[in-house]
């Protein structure tokens, strides 16, 4: 049985969002990277893993921001921050940038994980081919 089949993509997505969200609440900004790394290992194919990671990262930061917006005007904060950074007074720029940053961190983690997985599989395949070749030679 494939590992991915044991942990279907929706489960990873939901778990990923929950972990990123929790980390965001406590200021653990690097959690999306860890979630991305895990998603890259757990989900196949790789493109689906990247997609899930991007969504988990984005939703994991968008969620707490949306939650905060129920009690405070986060767009006001965002527009002030945008002004300080010299990016104009449109608060959505900063909100979208924050969400994009989380997606990027998560996606980059997934990409590394998938790439390492690919390299490991290639190494195994190479060593398997070599073993097979040596075995044939001994038989002869």
């Amino acid at each position: 049985m494939k590992l991915g089949a044991m942990r279907p993509a929706p489960v990873v997505l939901v778990a990923g969002v929950a972990i990123v969200w929790t980390g965001a609440v406590f200021g653990l900004w690097w959690i999306p990277v860890a979630v991305g790394l895990a998603a890259g290992m757990l989900v196949r194919p790789g493109k689906l893993a990247v997609l899930i990671s991007l969504v988990a990262g984005a939703a994991g930061w968008a969620g707490p921001l949306a939650w905060q917006s129920l009690s405070v005007d986060i767009l006001r904060t965002a527009s002030v921050v945008s002004g300080i950074m010299g990016a104009g007074s449109n608060g959505w720029t900063i909100v979208l940038f924050s969400v994009f940053l989380a997606a990027l961190l998560c996606g980059a983690g997934a990409w590394l994980s998938i790439a390492v997985g690919g390299l490991v599989r290639a190494l195994r395949a190479t060593s398997g081919t070599a073993r097979s070749g040596r075995s044939k030679a001994r038989t002869r």
Partner: protein
């Protein structure tokens, strides 16, 4: 073959690793102007926590380490805080806590300025300021003040309790990841607060108010224009009537008056130019420029209530957040209400139950420069009193964000620090600044807060050394007074308005004794007033400064004096009207002369229209007034047409040094021109070198023609539409120099000479930073400042007072009980 199959996945790994590493790097540490993106934007603890301030404080209970007993803070709906503490120590703890809660970044910025630590957060751009401050030595002064302060005394106790309160809030902010927005964006954490930090902020204020470079300007003028002409145009005693408030008779107690020695120090040096150049590159707030502040008090004989009225409006750089934080405080030993400076545990302007007071800057000469003789044969030494002396040296390491630590060596002579590397062989310039001498201002202010009569008030001011301030006074019993407290340095001999010889012949030998400084108490006029004018008449026996910047030209003082003298049965409404008055006293003197000069002259159509506007003008610098626009442009042009030919002929380097440029900010030149126009219209200064003879009338007509031409190009062909607000604005700049966090520019009324002052043209960035009126008839007070109680730009309390201030309105300064009854007020309970 196998290696070939591994190449693609290996490259894949490398590429993803590089991408992730870059992303993590930028997220963790930032890049260039970008803050660390991860901690800055993460929802739970990043910049988003600033949004919590959109909601104003809620009723809550706060536990604070260091509190002895329960205390209470009530906030009015506009953020003004009312403190009730069971002990005096707890009161200062609570003030510290409040300041840190609402102004922590401002406090940190102010202490960093004085402690040469701005570069540590903003990078190499701030290094010139840090190096300047390290040389000047605010931190050294603060350390000396703290070392000399008895630990068991009231001042040390207040400073320590205040620091504990600040640190309690810092710890709370750190624990809750709730540091103010700009700490997060600049990616740093505040260090614990100490009493020395508070004393450094006291030094910052002294520096802003009375550290000047005028002797260096004098030196350049003397070298270019000649000493005699320099002293004619920038005399010690002003050419006009400065409207001093203390008419004498004066006592000479203990020190000899200064005997100026003509031509004693005309020699200029490259060292002066170097230092002037270095000062010219510093931000405006580092040196004192221009005039500031009004205050007055009226005795009961002239008020409708029969009890005194007092008014004060200190003119400072108008910033956001504002320099002031308003509070009312009650404890067993103290009951006061007014405005404090974040970082200091006291109010500076306000009232207690018995007395009220307000401050203006005296602007006597407080900065003396010395030309120290040095020699390559005596490295590290200077010549003083007949011998080569070793300079003291101090080394400073100034951390720089994004760069190597700057190592600075500061050399000190007996006079003070050398202010610039002595690149010119044989001469270095040291500075003796009164603000650099330890001054127990905190102790003086605490005594004022407790004072209940003039004797106690006056005795408290004996301790006040720097910056010298005009303290206006009015009490519940009906008395009014004014004391210009502070150090007035007296040199052995020489011309202190120029750099003095450092050989010991012109050393400071003392200060004017307190009993001989300018002061009045219950004068026959029943009113007292100050507006940075020379406070005394010509017969005052001591040297206190010259007409060049050290004192203002007296136009605001004249306006105030005229108003107070003319009116009886004065009310609070009259005080409001006077504080918001935009009448230009100088225009009232000069415009009739201009109209007279223009009568009978052949004028163009547009000039006739402009003349008509001036004829109908009431002299008020109102935002919609075209007369104000024409007057200002005319006066600027009149100054230039009179003096610029001389500046050009004698090669005054005004293009290199902005402080030498001709303009309405040149106090002495304005006074000269006023005096000559009114009393000496054929003065030789109107005739430029090697030119045909001119009179005041000739130059006025030429200046008027020029003004109309300039304004036509700038504002179009209809003089009736040249509104003052088209060319004159006010701006409240962000303390952090971030444009989006400031206010304005917005078309504004006033000019530097109106009581409602606007310093700076075309954009005024200084003016009334707080307007205060005390009515002892009712025991009530009014106040307003152009800002808000919170430094958080997201908060509703960031700009609370601006609209009211702009419209000339005031907020009643109520007490804690009234605040608790007010709709929308909230109360914090502070528990040990």
């Amino acid at each position: 073959m196998a290696a070939g199959r591994l190449l693609t996945p290996a490259l894949h790994v490398i590429a993803s690793l590089v991408c992730l590493a870059l992303l993590l790097f930028v997220s963790a540490t930032g890049l260039g102007p970008l803050p660390p993106l991860g901690p800055t934007f993460v929802p739970g603890t990043g910049v988003w926590t600033a949004g919590a301030d959109v909601q104003l404080p809620r009723a809550e209970t706060i536990h604070g380490a260091g509190l002895q007993r329960a205390a209470r803070v009530t906030f009015e709906s506009n953020g003004v805080a009312h403190l009730q503490a069971a002990t005096d120590t707890d009161l200062y703890w609570a003030i510290g806590y409040l300041h840190a809660r609402f102004r922590l970044f401002q406090m940190d910025l102010l202490r960093r300025q004085g402690e040469s630590r701005l570069s540590q957060i903003v990078g190499p751009d701030a290094l010139p300021v840090d190096r300047f401050e390290a040389r000047l030595g605010l931190l050294r002064t603060a350390q000396a003040e703290w070392a000399a302060m008895p630990r068991s005394g009231e001042a040390a106790g207040a400073l320590q309790a205040y620091a504990q309160g600040v640190n309690a809030r810092i710890r709370e902010d750190e624990a809750q990841s709730n540091l103010p927005l700009l700490f997060k964006m600049l990616d740093y954490h505040p260090s614990p607060w100490t009493p020395i930090d508070s004393l450094v902020i006291q030094g910052d204020m002294a520096q802003t108010l009375d550290f000047t470079d005028d002797p260096l300007d004098y030196a350049v003028y003397a070298r270019t224009l000649g000493y005699t002409r320099t002293m004619q145009w920038f005399p010690v005693l002003p050419a006009n009537d400065p409207h001093g408030y203390d008419p004498g008779p004066y006592a000479s107690l203990g020190l000899q008056p200064l005997l100026p020695q003509q031509g004693a120090a005309t020699a200029d040096s490259g060292a002066v130019a170097e230092l002037l150049d270095s000062f010219g590159r510093l931000p405006a707030y580092v040196l004192h420029h221009g005039a500031n502040s009004n205050n007055w008090a009226v005795g009961g004989a002239k008020t409708a209530s029969g009890k005194p009225l007092l008014a004060g409006d200190p003119h400072l750089q108008q910033t956001l957040p504002a320099i002031w934080y308003q509070l009312e405080a009650n404890s067993p030993g103290y009951h006061f209400s007014g405005v404090s400076i974040p970082g200091l545990p006291v109010i500076l302007i306000g009232h207690n139950r018995d007395i009220a007071w307000s401050l203006t800057n005296v602007q006597n000469q407080a900065t003396l420069f010395y030309r120290e003789r040095t020699d390559r044969a005596h490295p590290g030494q200077y010549y003083w009193k007949g011998a080569w002396r070793k300079m003291a040296t101090l080394t400073y390491d100034i951390p720089v964000e994004g760069g190597p630590t700057d190592h600075l060596t500061v050399q000190l002579t007996v006079h003070g620090p050398i202010m610039e590397d002595a690149r010119v062989s044989g001469q270095a310039i040291s500075v003796l600044w009164m603000g650099g001498l330890p001054s127990p201002d905190a102790e003086a202010m605490l005594k004022i807060l407790r004072a209940s009569d003039f004797t106690a008030f006056r005795n408290a001011l004996r301790l006040w050394h720097a910056p010298s301030q005009n303290f206006v006074y009015a009490d519940r019993r009906g008395n009014v007074g004014l004391i210009s407290a502070g150090y007035y340095p007296i040199v052995r001999r020489g011309t202190p308005w120029l750099p003095l010889p450092g050989d010991g012949s012109a050393d400071v030998v003392g200060t004017i004794p307190f009993d001989a400084i300018p002061q009045v108490y219950n004068p026959p006029s029943h009113y007292v007033f100050s507006a940075n004018q020379r406070p005394v008449g010509d017969s005052y026996p001591y040297y206190i400064g010259t007409s060049k910047d050290f004192f203002d030209n007296g136009y605001r003082a004249a306006e105030i004096e005229t108003f107070l003298a003319r009116h009886g049965r004065l009310t609070v409404r009259d005080m409001e009207q006077l504080q918001n008055d935009t009448h230009d006293y100088l225009a009232g003197l000069i415009v009739p002369r201009l109209l007279s000069a223009l009568s009978g002259r052949r004028l163009g159509a547009r000039e006739r229209q402009a003349l008509l506007v001036l004829q109908r003008w009431n002299g008020n610098m109102d935002v919609a007034s075209p007369g104000a626009t024409i007057w200002w442009q005319f006066w600027t042009s009149y100054l230039l047409k009179t003096f610029k030919p001389w500046w050009d002929f004698y090669k005054v380097p005004y293009r290199t040094f902005a402080s030498l440029a001709i303009g309405p900010g040149q106090v002495a030149l304005v006074e000269d021109l006023e005096s000559w126009t009114l009393h000496d219209p054929t003065n030789g200064a109107f005739t430029p070198p090697r030119s045909r003879r001119r009179s005041a009338n000739d130059v006025m007509v030429a200046a008027f023609t020029d003004a109309v031409s300039v304004l036509s190009k700038q504002l179009g062909g209809n003089p009736a539409g040249w509104r003052w607000g088209h060319i004159h604005q006010r701006e409240f700049i962000s303390l952090a120099q971030i444009p989006s966090l400031g206010y304005g520019p917005r078309a504004g009324s006033g000019d530097p000479w109106t009581v409602d002052a606007a310093d700076g043209f075309p954009i005024a960035t200084a003016g009334p930073s707080w307007r205060f009126i005390m009515d002892w008839g009712t025991g009530g007070a009014l106040g307003v400042y152009p800002g808000g109680q919170s430094e958080n730009p997201v908060s509703d309390w960031y700009e609370t007072g601006i609209d009211a201030w702009w419209q000339g309105k005031y907020f009643p300064m109520i007490d804690a009980a009234a605040a608790r009854r007010q709709a929308g007020s909230v109360t914090w309970t502070l528990l040990p």
